[in-house]
């Protein structure tokens, strides 16, 4: 029985975008078990909901996370609309889809850059973030801000995209397609990347189902579940195809996310072509009351919002369960048996968004 040591991974580590500590129990070079410690950026947003009225809470929901911000506000708005039985116009649903998919592309490009940085492939990191700049400029031209779009509101969207804006969207989508065709095959076929990711951090289909994995982590293990299939917010009219892989290791997760990036571009093209004319929001009167659970597929998986209103303008309870919170338990199952040098790659392959986890 060799001696065991405990090495703390984090909270400050060059590969982590946000602080999380994993206490790794090591036997020589192999990890035996891992224990997470979070709480470094807990902001208490769920308590702040009791003080702000339900229209102002859209901005609060948006600021739970910086990388998946628009989809948080869409989930919140959908929940309140269901509670108050508000029917959102079709144009608003399509605009939410377009901005949501642009946001998904930006999130996956950010993740691809960070993952390449974790094994020292700086070239792909810089190139992915250069493509991401085009997406951020597109978001500023159509919505006004680069990251916190602030366009979703209860009852629809607050801004419209003009025809010039839509032409710009299609132009950027075509440019991105060319860039992806150039560098995504390099990432997927590179010998060094394959050596470092194939067989590393394996999560079997049974483990993924039992531990409640969501998003690309579950899809890479063969579970074909994507909440967009239920057809909220114009996904039913635009349609898409679920990208899965079977091997359940880090390489499979790279394949799934790269496939999703291509699928996002296709969806944006279809949505822009099918965009109907009409109003972009409806006036919302009264206060929310009742309970509702609202779910949306974010770039990292399924996010769940539980909202409870009691007839006043402040909500009684807003509970958020973000996808990274659900993927922490599978992470603890992936780590035992790997080497210390593989830990950053595995942690980044679940796409950790710790500010979402801790709110």
């Amino acid at each position: 029985m060799s001696k065991r040591t405990i090495i703390p991974f984090g909270p400050q580590h060059p590969v982590l975008p946000e602080p999380i500590q994993l206490r790794l129990v090591m036997e020589e070079e192999r990890v035996v078990e891992a224990l997470p410690a979070i709480g470094y950026i807990h902001r208490g947003l769920e308590k702040l909901v009791e003080k702000k009225d339900f229209n102002q809470c859209v901005f609060l929901a948006e600021r739970v996370c910086g990388i998946c911000s628009f989809l948080h506000s869409v989930t919140y708005s959908q929940g309140i609309e269901e509670m108050m039985s508000v029917a959102v116009p079709d144009r608003a649903k399509f605009l939410r889809l377009i901005w949501g998919e642009i946001h998904r592309v930006h999130s996956h490009l950010l993740w691809l850059g960070l993952l390449a940085d974790s094994f020292g492939f700086e070239n792909v990191f810089m190139h992915a973030w250069r493509c991401r700049e085009k997406v951020l400029d597109l978001m500023e031209k159509t919505a006004g801000h680069r990251v916190m779009l602030g366009t979703c509101c209860v009852g629809g969207v607050r801004r419209d995209i003009t025809d010039e804006g839509l032409a710009e969207v299609l132009r950027v989508v075509d440019e991105l397609q060319k860039e992806f065709d150039e560098f995504v095959p390099v990432v997927l076929n590179d010998y060094s990347i394959k050596q470092r990711t194939i067989g590393v951090g394996k999560l079997t289909k049974e483990q993924a189902a039992e531990l409640g994995a969501v998003g690309p982590v579950a899809r890479a293990s063969g579970i074909a579940r994507d909440f967009r299939e239920t057809g909220y917010a114009a996904y039913g009219q635009v349609g898409f195809k679920i990208v899965t892989a079977t091997s359940g290791d880090c390489y499979a997760r790279i394949q799934v996310r790269c496939g999703e990036m291509y699928e996002c571009l296709e969806m944006i093209r279809r949505a822009v072509k099918a965009l109907p004319a009409g109003a972009i929001n409806v006036a919302v009167k009264g206060n929310p009351s009742g309970e509702v659970v609202s779910r949306v597929e974010q770039p990292r998986g399924e996010v769940v919002y539980y909202l409870k209103g009691n007839g006043t303008k402040n909500l009684e309870r807003m509970r958020i369960r973000t996808p990274t919170f659900a993927n922490l338990a599978p992470l603890l199952a992936m780590l035992p048996g790997c080497e210390l040098a593989d830990v950053p790659v595995i942690v980044l392959s679940i796409d950790p968004c710790i500010s979402c986890t801790e709110r």
Partner: protein, 98 residues
């Protein structure tokens, strides 16, 4: 690997991807949300913007001396005050800062 050779050459001999800020600046895009402005002559000091602001950044003084101030660091430039203003004196300027 051969695909990256094309990218290597275009990186070596092409324009840099970054701008030489602060010597060259990009013009802000139309419709970009930079900073809140108030046309103080049209303002009727009703206080709607103060009530709606999510971060309590606006303070409207009522009688006897009417004033309108906002904390620039609290403002998240969401535009909620612009939407509810009844006389439309508030607007968002695309330029950040200064």
């Amino acid at each position: 690997m051969a695909n990256m050779i094309k990218r290597v050459f275009s990186n070596l001999f092409g324009r840099p991807a970054t701008r030489l800020y602060p010597f060259t600046r990009r013009e802000p895009f139309v419709g970009s949300r930079g900073r809140l402005q108030n046309d103080i002559d049209k303002c009727i000091f009703c206080g709607m913007c103060q009530r709606r602001c999510p971060t309590d950044a606006i303070v409207v003084g009522k009688k006897p001396d009417k004033s309108w101030t906002f904390d620039r660091y609290r403002c998240i430039v969401c535009g909620y005050c612009v939407e509810v203003c009844p006389v439309k004196c508030l607007s968002l300027d695309p330029k950040h800062g200064d």
